[in-house]
């Protein structure tokens, strides 16, 4: 399966929602619900939660309870909508997607249905599970969409909208639910990577801070950050012009401003296409897009890239082109030619030195930061493990916990030092000095380690062994 980057997720989410909405809104007002839930954010002026939850994809389990507390017909709607939300992927991050969907739905939805839904959807609005888009990331978006179109292909409600809003909604909802489950199952079984990311997502929600609000953003960040994983993988992919871009949502009126991550390979393909079309001046975005045949690339991406390309090409050229000006300049220089030439070169060389130095240091710093985080994660894991086993220990003897704590802090104190030295093996003398300087501050017990639970003395040695590479 192609690894599509993060951005693709958002787009595909929108795409499906658009399609679903498009067909759904015609038949019943129920399918409008997911979009209504999204749209309600800007519409409801009262609830304070609205602006806050807009970007969040909270843990569905925590939000389901408020939903079920709503009354009557609405209650039924919610149970189905909660089912919908747990399974389906109608979520999106960015506002522009919502806007584009809004424009689509508002124009198509019946007034009574939407107003009712808006009113009562206030609590359930936040229900969209993030994993949805992850699924679509890996799957062929078009196939998903056609599935959704099929199932939402209900006979159009011919009743008077005002009367039948409720009834019209209830009937298909159960069906929808079942269908949703089917899709979800199908999508889940499709790709291992998906399930692992889904599990990770669930794990995130379980792990995180109690309290809905804090949990919520982490999911959104999980979501938004899951995406770049794929984009990170892309540059590593050898030579293929993989699309680093999300598929365009169909039917969306506004031009999508999805940020695309270009790679040298993609750029090569771009340049080839441009050259085939007769150069950067002659080539048109449409033509280039067609020639490149890269899935998910939109004309907007090509357009902006072409613009950048043109600017880059034609800015240096005027200075090369006008030989007259050049000769005049050079005549002035020629007398000082030798000396100034050398000076300039030397100055450039110095500049290079400093730049190289900065780059070096940045690389080192980055590696250190990565190591630190890795270690932090490891400690966290140990802490959690210990918490679980610590509870048993506590039931036994509480005194034994004291000693392992002191034993733990010392070896752990040493390990960051070693890890730093290990990382910087390439830079001998520099890091030795650094290592020495580090030891003195490290004699203070780091605040994070105090929080770390005790463990048996056996654990530090393996940890050190792991870090000593």
């Amino acid at each position: 399966m192609e690894a599509r980057p993060a951005l693709s997720i958002q787009r595909s989410g929108t795409q499906q929602l658009n399609n679903c909405g498009a067909s759904g809104a015609l038949s019943t007002s129920f399918p409008v619900l997911p979009s209504a839930l999204e749209e309600k954010y800007p519409n409801l002026p009262d609830s304070q939660q609205v602006p806050v939850e807009r970007q969040f994809r909270p843990c569905t389990s925590t939000v389901v309870s408020p939903i079920s507390s709503s009354s009557g017909v609405v209650g039924h709607m919610f149970s189905s909508s909660s089912g919908l939300s747990t399974d389906l992927h109608f979520s999106s991050v960015s506002q522009q997607e919502k806007h584009s969907r809004q424009s689509l739905f508002i124009s198509q939805s019946t007034s009574c249905g939407t107003s009712m839904l808006f009113q009562q959807a206030s609590h359930s609005g936040v229900l969209h599970s993030t994993a949805s888009s992850q699924y679509t990331k890996e799957n062929n978006d078009t196939s998903w969409c056609t599935d959704s179109l099929d199932f939402l292909d209900y006979p159009i409600n011919q009743n008077n909208p005002l009367d039948s809003c409720n009834t019209g909604e209830i009937l298909p909802s159960e069906d929808l639910n079942k269908r949703n489950w089917e899709w979800a199952d199908q999508l889940i079984s499709d790709d291992d990577a998906l399930t692992s990311s889904w599990n990770e997502l669930i794990a995130e929600t379980n792990v995180t801070d109690p309290g809905l609000k804090v949990e919520v953003p982490q999911q959104s960040t999980t979501f938004s950050i899951q995406q770049p994983q794929a984009s990170q993988q892309l540059p590593a992919s050898s030579g293929e012009t993989c699309p680093v871009v999300p598929p365009t949502p169909s039917g969306s009126g506004a031009p999508t401003k999805q940020r695309m991550r270009w790679t040298p390979e993609l750029h090569e393909a771009f340049v080839e296409a441009v050259n085939k079309l007769g150069g950067s001046e002659r080539a048109t975005p449409k033509g280039v897009l067609k020639l490149m045949k890269v899935e998910g690339l939109t004309i907007y991406h090509v357009k902006s890239h072409l613009q950048k390309y043109r600017t880059a090409r034609y800015k240096p050229e005027p200075s090369e082109g006008s030989s007259e000006k050049k000769h005049a300049l050079i005549d002035d220089l020629s007398s000082l030619d030798l000396k100034s030439g050398i000076e300039i070169t030397e100055a450039l060389r110095l500049q290079m030195e400093v730049q190289k130095r900065l780059h070096e240091q940045l690389e080192i710093q980055r590696n250190l930061q990565l190591r630190i985080e890795e270690q932090g994660r490891y400690l966290q894991m140990m802490f959690e493990k210990q918490c679980k086993s610590g509870l048993d220990l506590l039931k036994g003897s509480s005194s034994n916990l004291e000693n392992p704590l002191t034993d733990l802090t010392e070896p752990v104190l040493k390990s960051p030092d070693k890890s730093n030295l290990g990382v910087s093996e390439g830079n001998d003398h520099k890091m030795d000095e650094v290592g020495e300087k580090q030891k003195s501050p490290e004699n203070e017990v780091p605040e994070n380690l105090e929080a770390t639970a005790t463990d048996t003395p056996n654990s530090p040695p393996p940890k050190r062994a792991k870090l000593d590479e």
Binding site: S224, Q232, A236, P264, L362, R366, Q369, L370, Q380, V434
Partner: protein, 256 residues
């Protein structure tokens, strides 16, 4: 606020177009102050919850901002890289046929300057990425400390995967650049020449100046703080700090 000041300094020293693209550390810090001053969530305070969510919303917004800017610059660099390569190839082809005339020399100088500047800008982009990451790490650490939350660890894991932090492509381009530069420049001058060079001063907002500033700032930031922990970076010790510092940052003689 020590980091905040350093960050501000760095921003001031950075290239003009970049200045408003850095992390809004101050805003985040202010929000954090709001959170810790508001009554805790257990008493059901709406303000606390709101401030907290605002904080996270802002964090996400900032990340988007950083990503956008980074990816845009990355795209620019990819294009420029290709263009420079082509120019150099043309140069090499020309140098075979034409004698090293004046045109050639001027062109050569221009290319050298361009490529060194290009290298510099890329390094500055990596510095940008790093500084922002550091800022995020710090603000998250403060958040956890002040609110007792557990936002930091998972959030940082996400940040590590963001486009603006995955700078591998740029590093690769930089290395390629260095190789090209080595081939373009004549053999390095002897050691004594360096003594003279130390006196060279650099112009206002140029790339060189920013690079020097970045290095110095980095050193300052890592000097060691009161909250030094095993999560902190070790102090940065550059052997030729003297040389670098001697490159005065407000200069009369620009490098053409």
């Amino acid at each position: 606020m020590k980091f905040g000041k350093r960050l501000k300094q760095q921003i001031q020293e950075s290239l003009p177009g970049w200045r408003d693209k850095f992390l809004s550390y101050k805003d985040l810090k202010q929000l954090l102050n709001l959170i810790s001053s508001a009554p805790p969530v257990l008493s059901g305070s709406v303000e606390y919850v709101r401030a907290e969510s605002e904080f996270v919303v802002l964090l996400n917004k900032e990340i988007d901002k950083l990503n956008s800017f980074f990816m845009e610059k990355e795209e620019d660099f990819i294009i420029r890289h290709k263009e420079l390569q082509q120019r150099i190839q043309r140069m090499i082809a020309k140098s075979g046929s034409e004698a090293s005339g004046i045109d050639y020399k001027a062109e050569m100088r221009k290319i050298r300057k361009d490529i060194v500047d290009f290298h510099g800008e890329m390094v500055l982009l990596i510095n940008y990425s790093n500084v922002n990451y550091t800022g995020l790490a710090k603000i998250l650490k403060k958040y956890d400390k002040r609110t007792g939350g557990l936002l930091r660890l998972p959030f940082i894991q996400k940040v590590l995967q963001q486009p603006f932090f995955t700078t591998d492509l740029i590093s690769k381009l930089i290395k390629e650049c260095e190789i090209t530069i080595d081939s373009l420049f004549p053999a390095p001058a002897e050691k004594k020449a360096r003594g003279e060079i130390e006196a060279i001063t650099v112009a206002g907002e140029g790339i060189f100046r920013n690079t020097v500033a970045a290095l110095l700032t980095m050193q300052e930031i890592r000097r060691g703080s009161s909250t030094y922990s095993h999560f902190s970076l070790p102090p940065l010790n550059l052997p030729d700090t003297d040389v670098i510092k001697s490159v005065q940052l407000s200069s009369p003689i620009p490098i053409p």
